[in-house]
Symmetry: C2
Subunit: 383 residues, 2 copies
């Protein structure tokens, strides 16, 4: 056994001199999101309704559940590093050629990989001010420079984004369509025009996490000649598999090759591969979730109007409610949390006037409505 | 809908000019490992025995299975990004303080993160020639320089590794203990001496993936004052959760902080967190797997002797058999695959004389023995 002998002070590296890279030494001590589990530990409050991270309250397809349960018997084996069967099904189902797809453990992992593959330290990326924080977390993590364009009436300002990309010679532009956290969207035609406006050597990361919830005119064709376009999709939202960690990129074959030279090849878990494949086979389930979500959005719009707030029309599984100012938004988020309801408000102006609420099941929506009415009535009495 | 209008050639980036980083442009088109699923697709042969990747043929603990099945009901929720409950249990069970642990989706992911956090392009790392390919894959992927020290009689050459680290001013040294692919090991005392020999500003990544299978004198104390030591552990081996993708690092709190500033916070799946926690609670299961594995190793030693080969004594769940030369090792791997038995032989001299075989269940070991005897008898008749 180890004799427990102490290493002398001279021999040990001084802790302040740990030889981190230059980039890592400058990184701040922040994380993209605080999870409800962390909020529970900090506050002692138990989560009763989980409506803050746009996870699907409708769960997964029964077929996916069955496939995942069966896959537990094979969970001692690594997953297929090529996720071949799943990519084959994506090709069959959506027309995404197998040479154009990469599966990884969610869009977050893919964003990190794409930033790593394209952005050298000191190079520029462009996105909206208030866009998905995890993208910017990765940009900072790889030493990229952020150029942020303010939202225009809760829409991504496409003209300004393209102009800024030209101005700063951006390596990449990131956009979610439909957008998170506003829920707004652009049509495929508008997106294609935006892509034409970007510099010839600027990548366009198009995050389509919520695309299944949007109107039909959002859909781009499965293939494009434009090597700049990288589309990102996930099984975390409409498929209800957020906890399984699986998503995919659709990109030019040369980009796919570069991602395959750098990604963690055995990073996707076997159960997720089985669940995602089964969920693709159950198109009826996705349709039902989309329909129920549309119903729930309408209920949220009506509830917001009843309480004197303005709900943004949403093409996603959440609704962003403009409650007038950041202070009120923060207070509402806190009041809801004290009732065990987890929702979020963006941290950045002017989006911090929004309270973003995931569309719940009918029972969850009713509980939310009752609680929210109670809070607003109480506030009016106090005020 | 998108009108399908073509983007003109002038407007589209030339594919050869895709703006990859300098590092990515120089990377070769290789991957660390070919999985049995890929071999099946290439050869048309079906895998009958999966004994090539040191996955546990004993599967997972029944308690882990039950916990994972139950966790499917919560699989629509992201996992806790802090893996708090699991880290708390690691502290209780092994004395690894919570401030010293990071959970990620397996040792592969942790190796990538540690290389990223410490190695700048052009900086040096040291390991054995023939060591775990995924570590070197990540080193190449982040632009690090590899300095490889030959094995000495199938042992990592500790003196030479330390001397090389001093000589090349290495940023980090990587070592698996017990070793993969040889199965040899050093005692905690020898490892502690090796650490003292390393330069003061050189990290030591100690991969303990197989530590549970080794004799008791391998165990380092849970805490050390030496900030250079980073230990890596996994649930993929003795716990039988390879397909779940979960492992952990034990490191100085400042290193943990740096990893938390860069890692993919929502990268670990919820089922894996549940399974790993339950498996830690089932210490009896681990003991039974270790005992059965020891029995299987002895059977492999005896089988190798019977066939005129030399099996290396192993402190892991696999046995490396020296079959004399690289050609014979390659032929045996191919012959076994033609019978549907997946094993591996290292690609690097002098380890390419080894055939590495995971310890199977009693039935699997019998099937392997029968097949191997048949192959060797056939070869003798032909020769």
């Amino acid at each position: 056994m180890y004799n427990g002998e102490k290493i002398t002070a001279e021999e040990v590296i001084a802790i302040s001199q740990l030889p981190f890279t230059g980039i890592v030494q400058t990184l701040p001590d922040t994380v993209p999101f605080t999870a409800p589990e962390q909020m529970e530990r900090q506050s002692g409050q138990k989560t009763i309704l989980r409506l803050g991270a746009n996870e699907s309250p409708f769960g997964m397809s029964p077929q996916a559940m069955q496939a995942m349960a069966a896959s537990l018997r094979e969970a001692m084996w690594y997953g297929d590093p090529e996720s071949y069967d799943l990519r084959k099904e994506l090709e069959r189902r959506f027309g995404f050629a197998m040479g154009r797809t990469v599966i990884d453990s969610g869009i977050d992992a893919l964003l990190g990989l794409l930033v790593r593959v394209f952005v050298e330290p000191g190079q520029s990326v462009v996105t909206s001010k208030g866009a998905y924080p995890t993208f910017l977390y990765h940009v900072a993590g790889y030493g990229g420079l952020q150029h942020l364009v303010p939202y225009l009436s809760y829409l991504n300002d496409l003209d300004k984004l393209a102009a800024t990309a030209r101005e700063v010679k951006a390596k990449m532009v990131y956009l979610a369509n439909p957008d998170n956290p506003t829920g707004t969207y652009y049509t495929a035609l508008e997106i294609a025009e935006f892509l034409r406006d970007l510099p010839a050597d600027c990548l366009f990361l198009l995050d389509e996490a919520y695309v299944e919830f949007a109107p039909g005119d959002i859909h781009l064709p499965p293939e494009t000649d434009d090597a700049r376009l990288v589309r990102l999709r996930t099984f975390s939202k409409v498929h209800g598999l957020a906890g399984c960690r699986i998503g995919y990129a659709v990109a030019h074959p040369d980009i796919v090759k570069a991602m395959n030279k750098t990604r963690n090849h055995f990073g996707v878990n076997r159960m997720a591969q089985a669940g995602a494949l089964a969920s693709l086979h159950d198109a009826g389930f996705v349709t039902r979730v989309v329909q129920e979500t549309a119903k729930g959005r309408q209920e949220y719009y009506d509830l917001a109007a009843e309480l004197g707030f303005h709900a943004l029309e949403s093409a996603t599984n959440f609704v962003a409610v403009d409650v007038g100012d950041a202070e009120r938004a923060g207070a509402l988020v806190n009041d809801l949390w004290r009732s065990g309801i987890f929702v979020r408000s963006p941290g950045t102006e002017p989006l911090n006037r929004l309270v973003r609420i995931t569309v719940g099941t009918p029972e969850q929506r009713q509980k939310l409505a009752t609680t929210l009415r109670g809070i607003c009535r109480g506030n009016r009495k106090e005020g």
